[in-house]
Amino acid sequence: MSNILVKEIYKSYGNTSVIEDISIEIKSKEFITLVGPSGCGKSTLLRIIAGLEQINSGKIYIDQKDVTFVRPSDRNLAMVFQSYALYPHLTVKENMLTPLKLRDLSSFQRFPLIGKYFAKKKLEKLDILVSETAEILRLKKLLNRKPGQLSGGQRQRAALGRAMVRKPIAFLMDEPLSNLDAALRVHMRSELSELHKKLGITFIYVTHDQAEALTMSNRMAVMMDGRILQLDEPNKIYSEPNCIKVAEFIGSPKINILPATTDKLGYLSIGNFKSNFKTKIKNTKIFIGFRSENIILNKKTNQFNGRVKHIENLGSDYFLHLKVKSLSNKIIIRISQCDFTNIKVDSSIDFSINLEKILFFDVDGVRFNASYHTFQKKIA
C-alpha cells in the first residue's frame, strides 16, 4: 500500500530545471532516504512533497488523495529542518505545543491572554500529549528551556518532538544531522532508526551523507542532477549499482573504476594484465569497477604491482592509494590492521582484484551483467 506517491514531477527555477521527471512511490511505514550530492534537488523534492515548493507539472498523492494543490499545513506532514527552525522566543514545551494549538484550538481559543481560559480542558489534553512525546525523546527536563539554552543534539530532539507531537502521516527530514558533531551524528543515526521502529510512521529523509542513507533506510533513492538514478535497498545499491555515477557516489572510499577491454573470446584484460576471466561480451571497450575491499593480497596470483602514494589510517583499516604503472587511474585499496606490515609511502605492493566481485559498465556508464562465470558454474 502506498502512502505517498509522487508522479512525473518537473520543477524549474526560471530556465534552470531542478527536478526532471521524478516519480517515486513511498510505502507506508517505510524509512526512505533521498541521497545525492549538494544541488541534486533532493531538498527541493522533499519540499515539494511537503508543499513548500510549487511544481511545474506532475501530481502528488498522499493516502490516495491528490494533494498537488493542497497547502502544506493541510497535508498533515511534519518536517524537521536542517537548522531545526525552532521558534527562538518559545520554550521547548511551547514549541511543541504550537502545532497542536494551531490545529486543535479555534482562533478564539488562541486569543492572547483571555483565550486560554476558554480552552482549559483542551490545553490540559495537549499538555499530556507534549509530556508523552517528551518522555519518548527524553526531553522532560528540557521542557522549560529556550532553544538558545540547548545543545545541538538537544535542539535536534526538540525539533523532532515538535514534529512528532501531532502524529503526522509522515516525517520529512531535511539533513537533520548535518549540524551535529561526528560522534553525536553516529549516535543519532541509531536513535532515529529506533524511533522509526517505535513510531511506525513513514520517514522521508534527505541527506548528502551516504553513511546515513546506508545505515538507516529501508530503501534509498540516489539522486543526481534532478533525477533519481536508482531506488533500491541500501545493500543492493552498494553491491549492484546501476551506473557508474551511483557506484562512485555510494561507498567510501570511492569505488575504483578502470577502463578495460575484452578480446575476441571474451577474456577480460585490464591495463597490461590479461585475465583468464571470461565474459559474455567480445571485443568491446568497457569499464570495470571494484570496491577497495575486493582485492586479494597474494604474491602468487598477483596481477598488479603498485607503489604506495598515500596512506590513510582509519584504525581498524588502512586505505592505501596506489599508483599502478600500466593504469592511468589511482587505485585505493583497503587492507585490515593485521595485513598492514611495514608498509610506507613508496613501498611496493602486489595485489590482485577479486574478479568475482567486479562490476561491469558499458562506455556510457550503465552497468550490465557480463559475468560468464556464474553461468559456467551452473553448467558444470
Binding site: 499545513s73 518536517m79 529542518f81 536542517q82 527552525a85 527562538p88 504550537t98 502545532p99 494551531l102 529556550k146
Partner: protein, 320 residues
C-alpha cells in the same frame, strides 16, 4: 609604564572625550539650573529649586507639557506602526520594492525647513491645495454625504465637513484646534521612513525556514505567521526603534521652528514643545537658568524612557 594601570591608559581617550562632550556640559547645565544666570551677567545667585518649581506650576509651562505629550503620544505609535507596516509591505513584494523604499525614505532625507515651507503652502487657509481639495469635494454629492455623515441621518450643516462647505475653511496652522495635530502629522510623515528602513534591516534576518516551519505547523493566515515568527524576530529591532522614536519625538523642534519660528510656538502656544521652550527661554529670552532646568528635565525624561525600555522590553526580547 606600570602595567597595572595600563587599562586606564587604554580607556582614557574615550573617557576624556566623553567627559568633555557629555559629562562636563551636563554638569554645568545641572549647576546652572539652580541659578538665575543670564548670558552677559557678571554675577548670578543661587535660587534653589525655583526654576523647577516654575516649570511644574506656571501655566505657560503647562502648555509645554500638553504640546510635548500630545506630540509624543501621537507620533511614537504612528511612526513605529507605519514604519513596520511599510516595511512588511515592501518586504512582501518582489518588484518595485526599491521605488517604494525611496518614496517612503525621501521625507527623511529632505531638508525639513524646505519641506515645512511646502507644507505651509499646501496648508494655507485659502490658497492651499488641501483646503481647495476639501472645498471641491463639497460639490460632489456622494463625497459631501459621506463626509458630513448625512447618509446616516446626521444634520449635514452641523458636521465638521458641513461647516467647511459653508465657507469656514480650517486655518490649519493658525487655529489652536489644529496646530499641534498638524505638527504631529508632519512629524509622522517625516519620521516613519526611518523606522521603515530599520525594520527592513530587521526583516532580512528572519529565517526563511522559520516561516516554512510555521506553515508546516499549521499557521495558515499571515497574521498567525506574523505573531509566531516575524514579530518575535523583530523584537530587538522594535526595542531600538521605539527608544529612538521616543527620543526623537521629545526632541522635536525643527517643525515648530519652521512653522512658528517668528511667532510664539503656534496659536496660543499650542505647539510649544519642550525643545522649543528650551530654545525660547535659554536663547531668545536669555534666561539660562530656566532653560537649563528644562534641559535637565528633558534629559531625565529621555534617560528614564531608555532605562524603562531596557528593563521592561529587553527581558522579554530574544536575541538570537
Amino acid at each position: 609604564m606600570n602595567s597595572r594601570i595600563a587599562h586606564y591608559w587604554f580607556v582614557s581617550p574615550a573617557l576624556v572625550l566623553m567627559l568633555l562632550i557629555f559629562g562636563i556640559p551636563i554638569a554645568i547645565a545641572i549647576f546652572l539650573s539652580f541659578t538665575d544666570y543670564s548670558l552677559g551677567n557678571k554675577t548670578f545667585e543661587f535660587v534653589g529649586f525655583e526654576n523647577y518649581f516654575k516649570i511644574f506650576t506656571r501655566s505657560s509651562y503647562e502648555k509645554m507639557w500638553g504640546a510635548t505629550l500630545r506630540y509624543v503620544i501621537v507620533v511614537v505609535p504612528l511612526t513605529v506602526g507605519l514604519g513596520l507596516g511599510a516595511a512588511l509591505l515592501i518586504n512582501s513584494i518582489t518588484r518595485f520594492s526599491e521605488i517604494y523604499k525611496t518614496i517612503y525614505f525621501l521625507p527623511v532625507m529632505a531638508t525639513l525647513m524646505a519641506m515645512a515651507i511646502v507644507w505651509q503652502v499646501m496648508l494655507h487657509p485659502t490658497a492651499g491645495s488641501i483646503n481647495r481639495l476639501l472645498s471641491s469635494g463639497c460639490e460632489i454629492d456622494y463625497i459631501y454625504n459621506l463626509f458630513t455623515l448625512s447618509f446616516v441621518g446626521q444634520e449635514a450643516s452641523e458636521s465638521w465637513y458641513g461647516s467647511i462647505c459653508n465657507g469656514n475653511m480650517p486655518n490649519w496652522l493658525g487655529d489652536k484646534k489644529y496646530a499641534i495635530w498638524v505638527v504631529c502629522f508632519v512629524g509622522v510623515w517625516q519620521g516613519f521612513g526611518f523606522n521603515m528602513v530599520l525594520y527592513l534591516a530587521g526583516l532580512t534576518s528572519v529565517s526563511r525556514e522559520l516561516y516554512m516551519a510555521a506553515e508546516m505547523d499549521g499557521a495558515k493566515s499571515g497574521w498567525e505567521r506574523f505573531k509566531l515568527v516575524t514579530w518575535p524576530a523583530l523584537g530587538p529591532t522594535t526595542v531600538f526603534v521605539v527608544t529612538i522614536s521616543f527620543i526623537k519625538a521629545f526632541q522635536v523642534f525643527d517643525i515648530v521652528e519652521a512653522f512658528y519660528g517668528f511667532g510664539s510656538a503656534g496659536p496660543s502656544k499650542s505647539a510649544y514643545v519642550m525643545m522649543f521652550a528650551i530654545f525660547e527661554k535659554g536663547i531668545k529670552q536669555n534666561l539660562i537658568g530656566v532653560g537649563a532646568a528644562i534641559s535637565v528635565i528633558f534629559l531625565i525624561l529621555v534617560l528614564s524612557i531608555t532605562l524603562i525600555q531596557r528593563f521592561l522590553v529587553e527581558r522579554k526580547v530574544h536575541y538570537s
